[in-house]
Symmetry: C2
Subunit: 312 residues, 2 copies
């Protein structure tokens, strides 16, 4: 326990990210009071049963009263409407942040509603699992993960420092960049991979010659990894693609060009082109493991017996 | 320890699959003698240092002498040449098998060289990790995985039964189907997923606006899962795409059509189309977990703290 960084933290939305923030903030005493809001009664009841906060509200406007830190933990598509709703009730000097996977569109939707004197520090913790809802959260979710801040030109640097300290206390590494660059980076490291995973799972489900039960049965040969990502929250991901459209379309075009070229190599039997690519990609995996961003265990360590093996 | 199923098992090739078979067969006494062959001196020395077999040979022709079970554990591209080489030295009544990820092409390459009286039972254990080489093997690799047999019309059913018993003793579930159907099923559950993973890792590596260090740093947001698959053995996978060309091109065409349609939905802001697909794909993940083909742990259980969470 340290001295609280904030007196009252209001979390709007209590899914995987919101509940993980709540659990961590409560455990480490980062905020003296954690107020939890969600529009759905059943979800709020779950959050209360899990003891995630100090007060529980169906109205976001009520939860943000006297809060010095407000975080929107909702799909990016509703950030604008919620900001308009809470704006009149925000304390002067309060810091408002979010956890959205898209930054330029979220800023465009939120910033116009925020009153003078409120500090806006958009944030995106790069952490998550394929599970969603308040039961899915756990306090270590952000440990050794990155949290990207995309402050506006007019944001008070002191507010940025406080949000940085908050995420560092959660165990995350913090980096700042422009919203536009964030959206481009995330398009390739997150949005397009998710889209491709969703797409191939859909393609497999629609086959006539291969049954769904065969797809399920034999999935351990590669396919199952894609299904994990394709089990991510549908609302959140729909909003990501609708709001980061340009960057996603740009990266998708590159992906498709490259795939067409691989397809051509297969059709014409160009084994060297395949071998060269397959060798190059191995190096990137090594870099990710060295950077501490994934486990070195084969098959992510999920197979019995594999845990004890040395790294290849 | 049970009564050995075979007197002498000859393993040609001692990579991830060969070494896992060797370790399992030795531990469970499935074969009285395990002979190991590989063409590279250094690899053979490693296999010997690891104590994987009972005898070690640089010449496959020598290892298969008096063997009643011979398994080729090599990339599919060299199966034909090796079969031609060992054919004159095979015992009458010996069973010859393989572990190749492609079946029709492998049968086409191997069958013509095999002498009368030798039983050919092509097999494909659907198991592996992104690591390769004799150090990568572990005896539990096949546990609860599927092994597909694609016997020829002329194969003696008794030989098929013995190979089935062998793989079941390794912990695998065994299913038989035609080579053609195998190649179609594997194209969608394994080959195309691998190609896509290799492709997106290549696309990310080639970007100008996003640096490679950013791609590595922020990979936990989805990309890292693809890099695991894209770290698979380059030679093995080159051969897979060259030898299962038609099925891969067919499945790839479907994947690309579906992706073009998703791309259009993003461009035109069709949120319902995205939401519908993203909901449908979640069900397939659930089926895979229920079928025991993947862990229910979020993020494959690789994150600290996530292990204790209930399933979402």
């Amino acid at each position: 326990m340290t001295e609280p960084l904030f007196e009252k933290l209001a979390l709007i939305g209590i899914g995987l990210i919101g509940s993980s923030i709540a659990l961590n903030a409560k455990a480490s005493g980062l905020a003296r009071h954690v107020a939890i809001t969600t529009r759905r009664k059943e979800t709020l009841a779950k959050a209360e049963a899990l003891g995630l906060g100090d007060s529980y509200h169906l109205e976001a406007a009520e939860a943000v009263k006297d809060a010095d830190f407000v975080i929107l933990c909702v799909p990016v598509g509703v950030c604008g409407a919620i900001t308009r709703e809470i704006a009149p009730h925000l304390n002067a000097g309060a810091i408002v942040s979010d956890v959205g996977s898209v930054k330029a569109a979220v800023i465009g939707q939120m910033a116009p509603h925020l009153p003078q004197g409120v500090q806006f520090v958009p944030a995106h913790p790069l952490a998550g699992t394929e599970h969603s809802g308040p039961e899915a959260g756990f306090p270590e979710l952000f440990r050794n993960r990155w949290c990207i801040l995309t402050p506006l030109a007019e944001t008070d640097p002191e507010a940025v420092e406080r949000v940085k300290a908050f995420w560092e206390a959660m165990g995350a590494n913090v980096e700042a960049m422009t919203a536009e660059h964030h959206d481009l980076v995330l398009a390739i490291v997150s949005h397009v991979p998710h889209l491709i995973a969703y797409n191939i799972v859909g393609t497999a489900a629609d086959l006539e010659e291969v049954t769904q039960s065969e797809v399920v049965k034999f999935s351990a040969s590669g396919f199952r990894d894609f299904t994990r990502i394709a089990a991510s929250d549908p609302t959140m991901w729909r909003d990501v693609f609708l709001t980061n459209r340009d960057a996603v379309l740009e990266m998708l075009a590159r992906f498709s060009e490259d795939l067409a070229s691989l397809q051509r190599a297969i059709r014409w039997g160009d084994g060297d082109a395949l071998f060269d690519l397959f060798t190059r990609t191995r190096a990137i995996r090594r870099n990710i493991i060295e950077a501490g961003q994934d486990t070195a265990q084969p098959n992510f360590g999920r197979e019995p017996g594999s845990e004890t093996k040395p790294q290849g």
